[in-house]
């Protein structure tokens, strides 16, 4: 049932997202949108000297699913290495969300992860890896 997509903790993340805002000196900055829905996500990441996520912030607008899943994502990736984040898949996102994502809404649910992974690729390309 679709209503299950809108459980209270999802709506909590949507109304009061975690790690919302910008960073002082981010190492990774990336944003993208889902043109089909108009969902937008902007992510900034500060890394420690081991290339682990020291801090992360996001801003965005869009549907509850895209914004809540990005909020949850930012919590989950703190302390993770870039390699670990690059290995994440949409199934990881679905597990964190703990709600049935209807096929038409998958793009909303994984937007945050796509933006973060694209940001990492740009960052690594810049650093010549």
């Amino acid at each position: 049932m679709t209503a299950d997509m809108y459980r209270e903790y999802i709506l909590q993340h949507y109304r009061s997202p975690r790690n919302y805002g910008r960073l002082e000196n981010p190492d990774i900055v990336h944003e993208d949108d889902n043109p089909l829905c108009g969902d937008q996500v902007h992510i900034e990441v500060a890394l420690d000297d081991q290339d682990r996520v020291a801090d992360i912030r996001f801003q965005g607008k869009g549907c509850a699913i895209s914004q809540a899943s990005t909020s949850i994502l930012t919590d989950k990736v703190k302390g993770k290495t870039l390699e670990e984040i690059k290995a994440l898949t949409k199934d990881d996102v679905f597990q964190w969300l703990r709600i049935p994502i209807s096929p038409m809404r998958v793009k909303c649910a994984v937007l945050g992860l796509m933006v973060l992974q694209a940001g990492i690729h740009h960052y690594e390309a810049r650093r010549g890896r």
């Binding site: 209503a3 997509m5 089909l36 108009g38 869009g62 699913i65």
Partner: protein, 411 residues
């Protein structure tokens, strides 16, 4: 009978899909501007063709081919009558509105629009009536002029006049906006465009299912529509064009069916409509569309128009009663059969997903009108669109579902 309203219960019995349930609830299908459901008459016409006389048309001389050809060409006559075309040869079967518009942009456009010429369209076009002209303008070096349409008041003809001059070769517009439910004054636009010698192309994807279309009264030069939005099958559509224009146009796609004589280095081409129907045509699709048109004529397009508009007006008013709802487009009394709306800052996709749990199918998104949504200042809207089988009970279900969605978001 004219004057009598549509008998909703009888019509519903004609649409087998309405018997099914969605999430355990009665299906309330309000996504008709995307595609309509199909009456049994259409489904049975397809079934009859495939079971009894499936054959390729025009070429073979056997019995099945004769029956298939007759049915295919009868469908063309049905559609010609439906549009009040001067002759059936003005009806070209395409895969849909998109292909019909591209056919004009490629075949007519590349032969008639040159560097320095201008193309005029509105800022409320569906992407299918934007992109083909953008590609044409880029290919030949033509200029694009955009006429702004007020979402509520409609098209101000003075704004159109302001961009019309001798350089304008083509003016195109939607008959009814698929987002705003706004009807544009096609006949007036055509009269003014013709004064500067421009050709007028009408996107009738939304109007053809909703109201009688008379291409001669509209005075346009080309008109495009989709079969699947007109209670017919997917994969079939129509380009209607004035015969002299079609006859003077080079082909679009090359292949079988569209030729007169083929040599190894050059060929001559058939007369319209065959010139524009390369390859084996959409035989079943055309037969299904013919059945759809016949079904609609049985109901009477005047009654269909009155029915769809009454429901849209009622839905508009009922939705405005819900706190936080904004409705886009003209007032109820000037509204065609659809209503786009938003609810507070709740994203349209969230709204559509929640409404779906109540068995109510609506559309959410930019409805292939990104420029218009930029103008409205929202990334997406929800849209309820009406058809002959919808009734006041469907509007009640929609409004109930929107209220329920508000609760989920604590609004």
């Amino acid at each position: 009978m004219r004057g009598m309203p549509v008998d909703i219960e009888a019509v519903r019995r004609d649409f087998p899909i309405l018997a099914r349930q969605v999430h355990g609830k009665r299906l309330v299908y309000l996504d008709n501007a995307a595609t309509t459901q199909k009456p049994a008459a259409v489904i049975e016409a397809l079934d009859r063709y495939y079971r009894n006389y499936n054959a390729n048309v025009h070429r073979s001389v056997h019995k099945l081919a004769e029956e298939a050809t007759l049915a295919y060409e009868s469908a063309r006559q049905e559609v010609a009558r439906f549009l009040n075309a001067a002759r059936p040869e003005e009806v070209v079967f395409t895969s849909g509105t998109t292909e019909a518009l591209n056919l004009v942009a490629y075949a007519w456009g590349r032969a008639n629009v040159r560097a320095g010429d201008a193309i005029v369209y509105t800022d409320i076009e569906h992407h299918s009536n934007l992109v083909p002209w953008q590609l044409l303008a880029e290919a030949v070096g033509a200029e694009i002029r955009v006429v702004e349409v007020d979402p509520e008041a409609g098209l101000d003809l003075d704004r159109l006049e302001a961009v019309l001059d001798e350089r304008v070769r083509l003016v195109t517009l939607p008959h009814i906006s698929n987002v705003l439910g706004l009807e544009l004054p096609v006949a007036e636009v055509a009269r003014r465009a013709h004064q500067v010698g421009a050709v007028v192309v009408v996107d009738a994807a939304q109007s053809a299912p909703q109201q009688p279309i008379d291409v001669q009264a509209l005075g346009c030069d080309f008109l495009a529509l989709s079969g699947h939005k007109l209670y017919g099958p997917t994969g079939i559509g129509v380009l209607w064009g004035r015969y002299e224009l079609l006859a003077a146009m080079p082909p679009f796609l090359g292949g079988g069916e569209m030729i007169r004589r083929v040599g190894l280095t050059r060929s001559t081409f058939a007369d319209p409509p065959a010139r524009f129907e390369a390859g084996t045509p959409k035989i079943a699709g055309a037969i299904g569309l013919g059945a759809a048109v016949e079904y609609l004529e049985g109901l009477g397009m005047d009654r269909v128009a009155a029915h769809d508009r009454a429901l849209a007006a009622q839905a508009h008013e009922a939705l405005l009663e819900v706190p936080g709802v904004t409705v886009y487009g003209p007032p109820p009394d000037r509204r065609a059969g659809l209503v786009a709306f938003s609810l507070d800052d709740i994203h349209a996709h969230d709204l559509a997903s929640l409404v779906d749990t109540e068995g109510v199918a609506i559309r959410a998104g930019h409805h292939c009108c990104m420029p218009l949504h930029d103008r409205l200042g929202v990334p997406a809207t929800a849209r309820a669109s009406f058809a002959v089988y919808n009734g006041p009970d469907d509007i009640e279900a929609l409004v109930r579902a929107v209220h329920a969605a508000r609760k989920v978001f604590n609004r």
